[in-house]
């Protein structure tokens, strides 16, 4: 008899286990895969949006490595295997075409997409679009500026040749401290450098339809000539061939450099680590190739996509819209130092305090250039950096043809890279 009495209780337990319980259901937890942002701004955004949903969803951060290549490596394995735990993805701008055409992320449905585009700097919307559709909500953005020492450089150079001339003259008078810091290691940063230089010279890596290489001879030769001149100039750092963003930042903070091409994070970093140097730190637009044509600089940043196998796509879109909203962008900017994609925030006092160069940043972003929009971007980037490294041995005459052949092979996914 006692066994019979236990049956209702057992059913209770079963119901709880299987989720048939009629009581208050626990809200679904959305997983947000994004790089491990050190300041906690992303965690704060996740918490705020979970609270604002009034119990309809929670957001859990799934931290990825800081390095974009390693983030992609971990994500693509899961995405290709159809992992349904991936609800939200903090996507590097270069993944948009690949993830979209592989069917790993969902396109934004129209009313939501319209909202996600509203008020954003057009180039940031562009970085999240492919084939006329929006695939991710523009969240944070970034681009390089020219940083220079106001105590050594009277007026910032407008073009690359002008900068190298200035630095060479400077190196004759002050020696080591005159160097130009740029990213010359064989990695994505070198691709960013090349794309900016090529676009500033009026060229592009791919044709308009992104199926064939463009790399027109004239601008490509000009870009390669500047790369070669920089690498062989006494004004270049001897460690240019192994320099990444962080090495160049450290060199500048130690006072060994007078010019640096780098992202905006160097400003808070210098203020914290080398206040003496920060006092003499000026900023200007990335140098142009010719005085008539303003420079076009590569855009970076993180956009929020929704995984195609997500169990809660509607909630995920809602959460992505919330995270990329104005309040969370402001937090990401002021707390994490990540430039916003919303144009209006560049006039907000708190953001202008963080980025005293806000107007320059916005102007640069308006003219920004996208990296090649192809699902084979990773291959194209590897193919190009392999040919360009080391910069000192770049051949402006034979280079354009070699680059075109390598990109062609990469677009057919042939050959090792």
């Amino acid at each position: 008899m006692s066994a019979l009495r236990d049956i209702p209780c057992l059913l209770c337990v079963l119901a709880a286990l299987t989720g048939c319980d009629k009581g208050p259901a626990t809200p679904p937890t959305l997983s947000w895969y994004v790089f491990d942002e050190p300041s906690g701004a992303f965690a704060q955004a996740a918490r705020r949006c979970g609270e604002a949903s009034e119990g309809r969803y929670d957001i859990e951060l799934k931290p990825l490595p800081a390095d974009a290549d390693q983030q992609r490596e971990q994500l693509v394995r899961r995405l290709a295997a159809g992992d349904d735990d991936i609800d939200l993805i903090g996507m590097d701008v270069i993944w948009t075409a690949e993830f979209a055409r592989a069917g790993w992320i969902l396109p934004w449905p129209e009313p939501l997409a319209e909202h996600a585009r509203a008020g954003r700097i057009p180039s940031t919307v562009d970085s999240a679009s492919d084939g006329g559709r929006l695939w991710a909500a523009p969240f944070t953005t970034n681009t390089q500026l020219l940083w220079y020492r106001t105590d050594r450089v009277p007026a910032p150079p407008r073009t690359w040749d002008e900068m190298i001339d200035q630095a060479e003259r400077l190196s004759q008078s002050i020696g080591k401290g005159a160097s130009i810091q740029a990213q010359g290691e064989r990695y994505e940063g070198l691709m960013v450098f090349f794309v900016s230089l090529l676009a500033s010279a009026g060229g592009a890596v791919l044709d308009a339809d992104t199926e064939q290489p463009s790399l027109a001879p004239e601008p490509t030769r000009t870009a390669l000539r500047i790369l070669r001149r920089l690498a062989n100039s006494p004004a270049a750092d001897p460690a240019l061939a192994t320099a990444r963003e962080d090495q160049t930042r450290l060199a500048f903070e130690s006072g060994e450099a007078s010019y640096m091409l780098n992202y905006t994070y160097v400003w808070p970093s210098a203020n914290a680590n080398a206040p003496e140097i920060a006092k003499h730190m000026g900023w200007a637009r990335w140098p142009a190739v010719s005085p008539e044509r303003p420079s076009r600089v590569t855009i970076g940043g993180i956009n929020l996509g929704v995984g195609a196998d997500s169990r809660h796509p509607e909630l995920a879109f809602e959460a992505a819209a919330c995270i990329s909203g104005i309040d969370n962008q402001r937090i990401a900017a002021t707390r994490g130092g990540l430039p916003p994609t919303l144009e209006a925030l560049y006039d907000a006092p708190a953001v202008r305090d963080t980025f005293p160069f806000a107007d320059l940043l916005r102007a640069t972003l308006r003219d920004a250039v996208q990296r090649p929009r192809t699902p084979l971007y990773n291959d194209v980037s590897l193919a190009i950096t392999r040919i360009l490294h080391p910069l000192a041995e770049v051949d402006p005459e034979r280079g354009p043809a070699r680059l075109r052949a390598a990109v062609e092979r990469a677009l057919r996914s042939e050959g090792l890279l």
């Binding site: 290549d69 992609r72 490596e73 693509v76 394995r77 290709a80 690949e98 055409r101 592989a102 290691e185 064989r186 990695y187 460690a239 192994t242 699902p375 990773n378 291959d379 590897l382 392999r386 996914s413 042939e414 050959g415 090792l416 890279l417």
Partner: protein
């Protein structure tokens, strides 16, 4: 064997017709081996054959619908690529560098361990410690040691260089890590070989007036040749497939890409299953060729009778 386990009638059969008996025993032996053979086929033969099959396609994991049969085109593409041959050269540099150093150091260690009179066990156990450390941890430890900011190597040597930032110094660090990690393994295998050398043989040589060098090169080395070849074979195969140390320390930058790293990039980073499988199959063939070279070329025998 059958005396102990078989039923009486079978024992009688074995005793009567030996020919028949061995055949039955053979069948029994195969039957007993079957589960193991099946398991081996399942976990090794199937993946190898599947990789072979995949290597004949143009197949990108991002676009599974665009899979096309391309025959041997992937192999042609790999073998005509400068990336592949550069990786072959790099792997060769690391293999020759690390295995030869390990052989010398391992032999010295083995001799010490063989001769030592006290604390024998403690010594043998402590020598094994580096081998017990996970390769990734060891690689990270060496990476940090040689790091220009956090490392202790630069202050010790009074230098200021980025060891992993240049090709040859990066090779040096990789090789040293490998040597530090696997010399104990080499030393243990060689120690096993040293114990094979009969003491009276050495005594006889001594009586004949052979000095220590002659005894070592003319008596000890030839007798322990099988153990030496096994040790060399194992280490060479390991070194050719090197992945974790390079991956942790340089990720293949500075032209230190090895064959396994090329395979990894193609398969995992580029998701190119066809080309990546072709690379994997070629690495398998390289390993197979080395094993055949050792067995046929140097007369290594892995079963009994290796000393003859």
């Amino acid at each position: 064997m059958s005396k102990a386990t078989g039923p009486p009638d079978r024992r009688a059969g074995t005793n009567l017709g030996t020919h028949l008996g061995t055949r039955a025993e053979e069948r029994l032996a195969w039957l007993l081996c079957m589960p193991a053979v099946l398991a081996m086929l399942l976990v090794t033969a199937y993946p190898i054959l599947y990789a072979l099959w995949l290597s004949l396609f143009r197949y990108d994991l991002r676009f599974p619908d665009e899979r096309v049969f391309v025959g041997l085109a992937n192999y042609a593409s790999v073998l005509t690529s400068e990336v592949w041959w550069q990786a072959v050269l790099n792997t060769l540099i690391i293999t020759v560098g690390s295995v030869s150093l390990e052989l010398i150091l391992g032999m010295l260690l083995a001799l010490v361990m063989h001769r030592v009179l006290f604390l024998r066990r403690t010594l043998r156990a402590s020598v094994l410690i580096p081998y017990a450390i996970i390769t990734v941890v060891a690689a990270l430890a060496w990476k940090f040691a040689f790091d220009p900011v956090t490392g202790f190597v630069n202050p010790w040597l009074g230098l200021d260089r980025a060891w992993l930032g240049e090709r040859w110094s990066a090779f040096l660090v990789i090789i040293l890590t490998e040597v530090w990690k696997t010399t104990p393994f080499m030393a243990l295998l060689l120690l096993a070989g040293l114990t094979l050398v009969p003491k009276d043989l050495l005594d006889a040589a001594r009586v004949d007036g052979a000095n220590a060098w002659q005894r070592f090169f003319r008596v000890t080395l030839p007798v322990m040749r099988p153990a030496l070849l096994v040790a060399l074979l194992f280490r060479t195969l390991d070194a050719v497939r090197i992945f974790d140390t390079v991956f942790v320390q340089t990720r293949g930058a500075q032209d230190t890409e090895t064959l396994s790293i090329v395979g990894y990039h193609t398969l995992v980073t580029r998701l190119n299953l066809g080309l990546g499988s072709a690379v994997s199959v070629l690495i398998f063939l390289v390993v197979l060729a080395i094993a055949i070279l050792f067995v046929r070329g140097f007369g290594l025998r892995l079963s009994r009778g290796g000393q003859t």
